[in-house]
């Protein structure tokens, strides 16, 4: 096995945090990113991959 430390930030890692993390503030004109109707297949998969809690194959760890 290898441990790899990536220097460049991968987009998926960033979106895990920017779309599923961070303080959510509703109101004013902010829209909830999760409520956006995502038409594009790739982006749709990406958003659902960061918003759904997919159960780990070995069951609940938390």
């Amino acid at each position: 096995m290898t441990v790899i430390e990536r220097r460049e930030i991968a987009l998926v890692d960033l979106l895990d945090r920017l779309l599923a993390g961070g303080v959510v503030i509703t109101g004013d004109i902010t829209l909830r990113v999760a409520d956006v109707d995502l038409v594009r297949v790739d982006l749709n998969a990406l958003i659902s991959s960061v918003n759904e809690r997919v159960p780990a194959p070995w069951g609940e760890l938390t």
């Binding site: 895990d16 303080v23 509703t26 998969a45």
Partner: protein, 270 residues
């Protein structure tokens, strides 16, 4: 000038200046808006892109999303160098400064609690991948290649098939044990942890299947030790790969303090 206010983060007042050349989303430099002793880091964004309707459309444009996410992260990164920011979710936009002030007032207690809790902490990302499918990996983990010639009998065929199935089961059991143990060890060292959904390899472009995608909250001062711990945990586990990312601002740990966040992880709408 007409424009909306894009808010990146809430911080305690900080002394050091941000880099002069720093630009945020839409290429505007971020500025500080201080209210009730808290600092909102904001920049002006064009209404034609960031008002609700156009924003909805733009968020579906992967190139635009990439550029915006990287610009957002650039500002958070710069803030992380001078303070511990409380990052807001991507595309948090207000009509004007007064809207931002109202928001600060409404959430002042939450922000203070979160900033106290996260002060001096960073987030580390740890992912575990299983590298199945390639002949090299399969050989390494004891999965026999499919025979070059036809099995001589039905019994032969079944025996070969059973052996392949068993090797795959063994691999998954080892993956399960390894990932559980790693997550357990890192969680007990970290102050807090979060499991993100495993990443889709078609989107990440990463080799293998992502089975653990976790974030750990660690005091900045203990980061070196945490990284060493991850490094030590890599025992002899053929067919698996561990990736470490960070240090990140504490994106994955802002939620405990805001009432409307809990719905997001469970998929319920508040």
């Amino acid at each position: 000038m007409t424009g909306l206010r894009y808010v990146y983060a809430i911080c305690r007042p900080f002394r050091s200046a941000l880099q002069a050349q720093l630009t945020g989303v839409a290429g505007e430099p971020p500025k500080q808006l201080t209210h009730h002793g808290l600092v909102a880091v904001v920049s002006t964004v064009p209404e034609g892109i960031f008002a609700e309707e156009p924003l909805r459309a733009h968020l579906e444009d992967l190139d635009w999303l990439t550029e915006t996410a990287r610009a957002h992260q650039g500002v958070i990164d710069a803030l992380t160098a001078v303070t511990t920011p409380l990052p807001l979710r991507l595309a948090t936009v207000f009509r004007d400064d007064s809207g931002v002030r109202t928001m600060i007032e409404a959430r002042e207690a939450h922000f203070r609690a979160a900033l106290d809790r996260l002060e001096g902490r960073v987030e580390w990302g740890v992912k575990v991948y299983v590298e199945t499918g390639s002949p090299d990996t399969d050989a390494e983990v004891g999965i026999e290649p499919a025979p070059a010639r036809q099995p001589v009998s039905g019994r032969d065929y079944l025996r070969q098939r059973r052996s392949r199935v068993r090797a795959h089961e063994d691999l998954w059991q080892r993956v399960e044990r390894f990932a559980s143990r790693l997550h357990g060890t890192l969680s007990s060292y970290a102050e807090d942890s979060r499991l993100h959904a495993p990443q889709n390899s078609a989107l990440s472009g990463a080799a293998g299947r992502n089975v653990l995608n976790a974030a750990y909250l660690v005091p900045r001062a203990d980061s070196e030790e945490f990284v060493e711990l991850v490094d030590r945990e890599k025992d002899d586990a053929p067919g698996m790969r561990v990736e470490l990312t960070g240090p990140w601002a504490t994106y994955s740990f802002t939620g405990d303090f805001t009432a409307d966040f809990t719905g997001d992880f469970t998929g319920e709408k508040p």
